[in-house]
Amino acid sequence: MATQEMTYREAIVLALQEEMRRDPTTLIMGEDIGESEGPFKTCQGLLEEFGAARVRDTPIAETGFVGASLGLSLTGYRPIAEIMFADFLGVAFDQIVNGIAKHRFMSGGKVKTPIVIRAIGGAGLRFAAQHSQTAESWMLSVPGLKIICPSNPEQAYLMLKAAIRDDNPVLVLEHKALMSMKGPVPVGTEDIAMPTGPNILRQGSDVTIVGSLAMVGRSLGAAELLKDEGIEAEVIDIQVLRPMNVELIADSVRRTNNLVVVEEQAPTGGWSSDVVADVVSQAFDYLDSPPARVTLPDHPLPYSPGLEDAMLPSPEKIAATAKALLE
């Protein structure tokens, strides 16, 4: 095991490569992932190394190939499905929520469904309303599904490897704005475990800020801004949206007594509400202020760059929200 500097995208490629080498029952399906190596180049070199039987270009038929992954998983394979833009999870939705997520349970726990669905989501690239969603809230309420969100190259690598080894359906949400983020990656890690909860990225005593995916970096940015004002923020990456476990966040709040949750989704129906609701019930007496949420507005995302930027939670807005709690 050696640590190597690479991008988030390269970390995804590496995780796929290592796990496909390790286990011949793994295979990956998706659109334009073979010779073209994926529109975001997340499948670079895979076709060449593993061949067309295990690296499969699919028709534009997300219901078909996502559903096929259930059939593969039931019969000895460990399929990985790449959804080019997370927004397209909508066309495969039934197969995920009514099929994949429920099949083991409905069988009485008698079958295993090791399936990974990787979806690349997120705003910030001016892709407009139908190509900028992180989309996790669509599936946040679906029992039987695990949902994890890597916010840096190391996590992209470790989480994807863990998801591939997991015997259950795991939705791995990757963020397109992070694709060229660089960071150290512990190449060749063999001791892999699924994350079971959040992760503290920066310690602080005054306020807890929780984010996911691209909002983690913005939260860290907010912490820097707050530091200049003498406020120490603890920044936590939620990492795991499903099953949700906020104990670490509640612990943090017991120390900081204030909570801000930052979510790249609309104000209703997202995980930030769950975090608030659960933390409130676990650490009610420790809260000095009502937990605040910073989210997208309650309308679809506009295309125009200035508008898109104005909608996204900025470090400034996050910092201001945190500061307001402390006043």
Binding site: G64, G67, D94, Q95, R104
Partner: protein, 335 residues
Amino acid sequence: MAPRKKASRDSNQVPNPLTDEDRVELFRSMVGIREFEEQVQRSYLEGLVHGTTHLCNGHEAVSSGVIKALRPDDYISYTYRGHGHCLARGMDMEAAFAELFGREDGVCGGVGGSMHLTDIDKGLIGAFGIVGGGLPVAVGAGLSAQLAGKEQISVGFFGDGAANIGAFHESLNIAQVWNLPVLFVCENNLYGEFTRINHTTPYEDLVIRARGYAMEAVQVDGNNVEEVYAAASVAAMRARGGGGPTFIEAKTYRHRGHSRTDPAKYRDPAEVEAWMKRDPIDLYRKELEARGVLDDAGADAIIEELRAAAKEAADRAAASEWPSADQDFMAKTFA
């Protein structure tokens, strides 16, 4: 042996011609399904089956005929109307009843229910309650079979109504492009719930749909179990040999309503009568008697035996425990 009626241009080359033992087995399979479903109906009326249930009376020749053509390591996906497929594949009647009754001894521990009988060890990979939902799964199992290189195949059963939904389309296209060993078996009973096919589909011969995928296709009399068997055998042989998928349209009819106590008043009595005259079990019984494979007493004995077996299995299932609400459901959710 009298020459068998041709199911398609290929059916005269049935890879594994039936012996008389096979024929009796086929007859038993159909009768077993029928008696099971009749008992389900009685049990339903007694309050033992909860929610809803979808009986397959009338369809027995399709499940029995196709499944007879399979090997033990083949895969099958089917629907909420899936009791017949499970039984034809050898699911234990008591475990099936217990599931329908919501009991602990049910094949899914009572958490699945009538619409979701599953038995992975028998290749019964799943019963899908969402129309068309099982077809992509059958495609995945077909890909698995192709990759494994063991001449396995996968079968996806579905109804005429399912041929209008997106999942059907994506599945057939993928199977054809990837040349997968999948049999798409359409049980065309002319109705999706209460609506006749002519209201929902541009024609009544669903075999036409396969043309859009340039897929090998055959239409059979779904009430003639040997014709079904022959077509499935040919398609299975082709699939095992790398020849790709086949669409099989089996023309059949459901004797009862769509579900539960639906009296199916929306059907033309003349249509019902014509089809009831073509009961697949009666037809086969006559054929076997004409061939001298079974006599009247023998056939009656089989029916009696299986009726009693169904009744006993249901009684035993009804005596089975209720599942505990204190059990670890999360262990059933995640492996």
